[in-house]
């Protein structure tokens, strides 16, 4: 069994009775109706569910981009739901990495500078930024493309740059929102193999929203959402063994 496999260790993320209500009064919409969810450090979790099932709202809360209306959210044992906007930003800066469906790279900006961006906010010196960013680009196999802008890169390459940007700060958790949604199946598999490799080799906990069962198959755990609740959690031991 690999050392980073989900075991008895304390969960890195723990949601208890989390609700999210949009709007007020008669028009209020209850997106989350009480989520309980534990995620073990080093896990690779796929989040699935129909649109409106609450999976995106949950990911926003897990990504510290949004706050629950009620309930508790513990990250590494610390309450997140009480943090203010800037405190959550600092938490994201230090512990989280994001990969989006639409890549969300800065246009007209080289791959290297895109990857350097989080380090800029961390206040790293220029030399360290360059070295760390080049190392991250090497991990995703794009070190030779460092001076290309997103417009000069293919979709798969852009998503690799986005992954390099997400991992350059060595985050604890990587949140990926349909990372393969804009890619063909061949590129999708490459991206999934990259994420699996990072999860396995760099001990990064990966949370990934996906619609595609083939992509979810790469995960160790699949969380199914339905109507604002966790419907069921499915462990895929065979997959864990396969990638290990």
């Amino acid at each position: 069994m690999p050392s980073n496999a989900p075991g008895q260790a304390a969960p890195i993320i723990s949601l208890r009775g989390v609700t999210k209500i949009y709007g007020e009064g008669a028009t209020a919409f209850k997106a989350l109706k009480g989520i309980d969810l534990d995620i073990a450090p080093g896990d690779f979790v796929a989040v699935m569910g129909a649109s409106g099932s609450g999976k995106s709202t949950t990911m926003n809360i897990l990504g510290c981009l949004d706050v629950p209306s009620s309930g508790t959210f513990l990250f590494r044992g610390h309450h997140v739901e009480t943090l203010d906007r800037d405190q959550r930003a600092l938490l994201r800066r230090k512990y989280l990495g994001f990969v989006f469906q639409g890549f969300n790279l800065l246009a007209r900006t080289s791959a290297l500078e895109n990857v350097e961006l989080p380090l800029l906010y961390r206040g790293d010196a220029k030399k360290e930024r360059h070295e760390a960013a080049m190392a991250a680009l090497e991990k995703v196999g794009l070190d030779k493309w460092w001076d290309h802008t997103p417009a000069e890169l293919s979709g798969g390459q852009q998503q690799r740059v986005a992954i390099a940007r997400a991992i350059v700060t060595s985050p604890d958790v990587l949140l990926a929102d349909e990372p393969t949604g804009n890619l063909d199946s061949e590129r999708s598999v490459e991206i999934m193999e990259l994420l699996s490799g990072l999860n396995r080799d760099s001990n990064i906990t990966v949370l990934m929203v996906t619609h595609e069962p083939e992509m979810a198959a790469f995960a160790r755990t699949i969380v199914h959402f339905k109507d604002g609740l966790v419907e069921r959690i499915e462990a895929q031991h065979h997959q864990g063994e396969r990638v290990a």
Binding site: N60, G63, L65, D66, R85, D86, A89, L90, L91, R92, R93, K94, L96, F98, F100, N104, L105, L106, A107, R108, L117, P118, L120, Y121, R122, G123, R165
Partner: protein, 402 residues
């Protein structure tokens, strides 16, 4: 971090060159107008003061007639007589010297050269009441004045045109058929504040001029030197009283002469220049405000255009203050760019206008510094609102922005 932010701001401005230039136009015009006007105002004031001080301070000019702009009809008021000069010189306390003047036009001839000029008849007092040093030779002796000898002192323009750099002292020039020995040459005084070359003159004893040229004892102008210890206004009032008495002007009748304090010209011109500077500065201030609004507008557009970028930065972990700083720095960089272009433009315009107006080229560090600081301040003031808006964006909505 701020250095990097500044570089990013410059890059973002460079990405939209035309748009940035048009946005900063208001600032450019405002800064250029302020700097140009204040600089030209100071140059004019300095030039006026210089020409006034070359005329001499503490000098009263006494002329027959009712002064500038007044008078008009009626009989010509009588000119002064030599007795008036003596009366002022001897009866009024605080008068250092009185220089009478009688003028005539003539053509000066020396060997092959001839030159149209003005003869100014006066006394040695002329060189006492005002600073006008000789470059060579001497002024008249008392004997020459009394006898009305044909001796003359030439201004630098006359000297240049008659002698062309050669020795003037001892030369005998002809003025309207009268031979005259040159005994002195004057230093260059330059243009008068109101045009006219002060150096285009031949100075002779007043008796000589009256006898040989004007044919009468009339004095058209008296320059009265006032002792520093006395008030010019008080001396002016005493002279007025004395002349009214001598010219039999009683009761409420108006003076038929005028006394002019040269310092007044300086004050009037300075006040006019200041007023003009203030008006243009006010207009320029409006231009700066309009420029600021332009910057605010373009920054709001920029924030909307770059909503996704802001979302990415926030998701990555930028705190609100960092996003605010980024857009604020961009607005300030934009307005400072306008400020710099405005300053450069101002130097060019000042250079051209100074050359056209015959003024010395001035660079006034203070006004350039102030104008630049104001341009930066405009960036802060008008950039704050758009920057606040950027910083307040919700990262989730910003990332979804199309």
């Amino acid at each position: 971090m701020l250095g990097t932010t500044f570089l990013l701001a410059i890059r973002s401005i460079a990405r939209h060159k035309l748009r940035s230039f048009l946005t900063t136009l208001g600032i450019i015009i405002g800064v250029a107008a302020v700097v140009t006007m204040v600089t030209l105002g100071q140059a004019t004031t300095a030039a006026v003061q210089k020409s006034i001080s070359s005329l001499g301070t503490n000098i009263l000019q006494v002329r027959p007639g009712q002064g500038f702009g007044r008078g008009g009809g009626g009989p010509q008021p009588p000119n002064f007589k030599p007795e008036d000069v003596d009366a002022i010189a001897h009866q009024i306390a605080g008068v250092t010297a009185v220089a009478p003047q009688a003028q005539s036009s003539t053509t000066a001839i020396y060997e092959g050269a001839n030159w149209s000029t003005t003869i100014n008849g006066t006394t040695r007092a002329y060189f006492e009441v005002q600073p006008w040093p000789l470059t060579s030779g001497r002024t008249f002796t008392e004997a020459e004045e009394q006898a009305g000898k044909a001796v003359c002192i030439v201004g630098s323009t006359v000297a240049k045109n008659l002698f062309n750099g050669g020795e003037a002292i001892g030369a005998r020039i002809r003025l309207s058929g009268i031979s005259c020995d040159v005994i002195g040459t004057l230093s260059t005084r330059g243009q008068a504040g109101f045009g006219g070359d002060q150096d285009d003159v031949v100075i002779m004893p007043i008796k000589t001029v009256q006898r040989r040229f004007t044919g009468n004892r009339d004095i058209r102008l008296m320059l009265v030197g006032v002792d520093d210890a006395y008030s010019t206004a008080a001396v002016q009032a005493s002279i007025e009283d004395l002349l009214r008495e001598r010219r039999n002007i009683n009761g409420s009748k108006q003076d038929d002469f005028n006394i002019f304090d040269t310092a007044q010209i300086s004050n009037t011109l300075t006040a006019t220049t200041n007023l003009l500077t203030q008006i243009v500065t006010a207009v320029a201030a409006i231009s700066l405000i309009v420029g600021g609004i332009g910057i605010m507008n373009i920054m709001l557009v920029s924030v909307t255009e770059r909503t996704r970028e802001i979302g990415i930065r926030l998701a990555i972990g930028a705190v609100a203050r960092e996003v605010l700083t980024q857009f604020l720095v961009e607005a300030v960089a934009l307005s400072m760019l306008g400020g710099v272009i405005g300053l450069l433009l101002a130097q060019v315009v000042v250079g051209i206008l100074s050359a056209l107006g015959g003024l010395p080229f001035l660079f006034v560090p203070e006004i350039n510094l102030i104008a630049f600081a104001i341009s930066a301040l405009i960036g802060v003031v008008f950039g704050y609102f758009p920057a606040r808006r950027a910083a307040a964006l919700n990262p989730i909505d910003a990332l979804r922005h199309e």
